[in-house]
Symmetry: none
Subunit: 214 residues, 4 copies
Amino acid sequence: MARNALSEDERESRRQILLEAAHRLYRERGVLPPVADIATAAGLAKGTVYLYFRTKEEIFVALLEDGFARLFAALGPVLDGLPRGGAAVAAQFARHFGQLVAASGDLLPLAALANAVLEQNLPVEPMRRFKTALAQGIAAAGARLEAHTGLAPAGSGETLLLHTYALTLGLWQALSYPAALKILLKEPELRGLDRDFANELENAIAALWRGAFH
Amino acid sequence: MARNALSEDERESRRQILLEAAHRLYRERGVLPPVADIATAAGLAKGTVYLYFRTKEEIFVALLEDGFARLFAALGPVLDGLPRGGAAVAAQFARHFGQLVAASGDLLPLAALANAVLEQNLPVEPMRRFKTALAQGIAAAGARLEAHTGLAPAGSGETLLLHTYALTLGLWQALSYPAALKILLKEPELRGLDRDFANELENAIAALWRGAFH
Amino acid sequence: MARNALSEDERESRRQILLEAAHRLYRERGVLPPVADIATAAGLAKGTVYLYFRTKEEIFVALLEDGFARLFAALGPVLDGLPRGGAAVAAQFARHFGQLVAASGDLLPLAALANAVLEQNLPVEPMRRFKTALAQGIAAAGARLEAHTGLAPAGSGETLLLHTYALTLGLWQALSYPAALKILLKEPELRGLDRDFANELENAIAALWRGAFH
Amino acid sequence: MARNALSEDERESRRQILLEAAHRLYRERGVLPPVADIATAAGLAKGTVYLYFRTKEEIFVALLEDGFARLFAALGPVLDGLPRGGAAVAAQFARHFGQLVAASGDLLPLAALANAVLEQNLPVEPMRRFKTALAQGIAAAGARLEAHTGLAPAGSGETLLLHTYALTLGLWQALSYPAALKILLKEPELRGLDRDFANELENAIAALWRGAFH
DNA sequence: TATGAATGAGAATTCATTCAT
DNA sequence: CATGAATGAATTCTCATTCAT
């Protein structure tokens, strides 16, 4: 059993090394890197990657899962600190949420990839894991939100957080540009799309929450 | 002068045939089809496709452009019919907008693809065209929105519509599933994500607009 | 007949325009340009090119033919001016021939292409035309060479000129580099191949001729 | 450490199999064969080829490198056997060199391809390797030539061998014909170009060397 | 467990040439 | 004669994944 535990630790550590390598390469290149590169960056052989992940996409879904877990963990205190009801809730949440998102690194680009790319070649099970974690994270946070702010009826907290996530994801996609197209934004006709994501996000979330709280 | 140059109409009609073929294949398969298939589906030869579009991605951006043009065209009357100020604006817009989106067909999946995939292999110029049309459509609609509802200050209409677009896009991604994963939604842990998109969208937009109008 | 003659002139003029366009594009790009580009550069339509040349290669063989015709024309006076026998012949010819080659523009790169590329897709007849012109040019010049210098036996002039051509062509290939590889020449190990073509050619030809004249 | 990494020998042997397959196909067809065909001929899969060579052109440059290495190896004894100075050198070298070239197989057609085709799509590094080997081979042989024959000044041996190579390459191009055009040679106007390469080469080289040695 | 050699499906794009008008 | 739209053959190279060792 001791041997097993140790093996389990080693296994987990290998997994983490692979995840970090994949994450780093993705950050550097802006596209899903080839498995061979991930293996090399992790100091392992190509075949070894497949002892830890069944497909390349599974690696990135795992990354996504980690990212969301961290985000939800950070979200707890923010929700707990919200004032009961009233006008201040929206503004306060929007500000804190904006900071959380800013600190979440590559979560958004990765999440945007999820639908378009990752889900194409993914065994069902990791997908279930990810979606389940997402659903449960939102549900738990929703309950907490309702408890602290008095938002009613039951379920409306979950719904609001789902919308919050959607707005965040969509806004990031509307405002983010691949490096090659950044220049376009300087053209006068595109001024309307050249907005600061962080600032825009805070305003949008604040509006959504004001509306949800009336 | 050229005896057999294609007339502008003929050329446009060929283009439309290609666009429709591409659109249909995309709808059927859920992924960007190979150019060879598009050509065949359009009754043309592979090389011919490249007389009308420089890259495969350009085809789909053109589709996107058309879709948005139609959406904006339909949006005009909706905005014009909004009541001046007041509480009713949000609910009325949300209902009509939901219908517009429902009628827009594949616009959303295609738009979701834009960032992740289409922008990878696209000459700048069609990208500029698309983004410019989008920016101008939003700006024009924003002005109209302000004029009819009295929303102030200037620019807030444009901003609200940008957020509306983002929320729509993000929500679609959060709630849509590739066919292979639809079964997952029946599992109890995922009940929270098994929501009707149309209904959810209407609620979310209504909240956002209520918040924007206070 | 007047009409015919005029047509004939027009036809020849069109041909020349095409040849010049092809030549210019080849000079600019260093590779055989697409037919479409040649047509555009000549202000004609793509199909029109095929009214004047049966294949793309035929265009470039025609260019080659022109180039050699000019070279042979210029070679005549050089041969006529050679001293009868003696040691001075080699040096004098080498010097003049080097100038001719230098003035011949793209003849060498084109000639180098002939074997590797042009002959792959060429109707027999233009090939015959070209080779015949080449053979006759060399034979005529050989006779002239023999007459003036007293080189014997009969045929040895032709042979010497054939060898002269071969040495020129081979030397150009050994010493010429595509732009992308010019940098290589600065490396010390490659110093031996970094020679001035004009100078090298003169020396090589002089040696060959000295040997031929004993 | 790697349990099943290929040994250097095995890897080299695979490489050789690929080279031989490529060589054979080139000989049979007279054009660079598609990679797919090379792979099939070597009993390997297409992708495998790219584990050994980065581009198709690299294969043929490797072939060229091998060929020249063999030629230089065979050239050594020939140079060592040359008489010191005097009139006999040229004739003796020409005869032996002609035999070497005759035994070198496809070296010449391949070398003729180098400029026109191979250099178009070649990573710099294999190109450097090849050119460096060529330069060093010529330099070393040149020094040997000077040592044995007393040819002076220093460097003139290298120069003479460069010219020898150029003359050989150019002559081959002037006299060789693709199979489809061999028939042309029977026409009387082309009699001047219908020469036996081996014989012609010996004469040309002899003349060049006589001239170089005075 | 780890390795890394081998696999081969997969797809975009170019461009010479034809031919209906 | 001229046009230029249409054709479709042709080929490279990448890369996820497997599996013998």
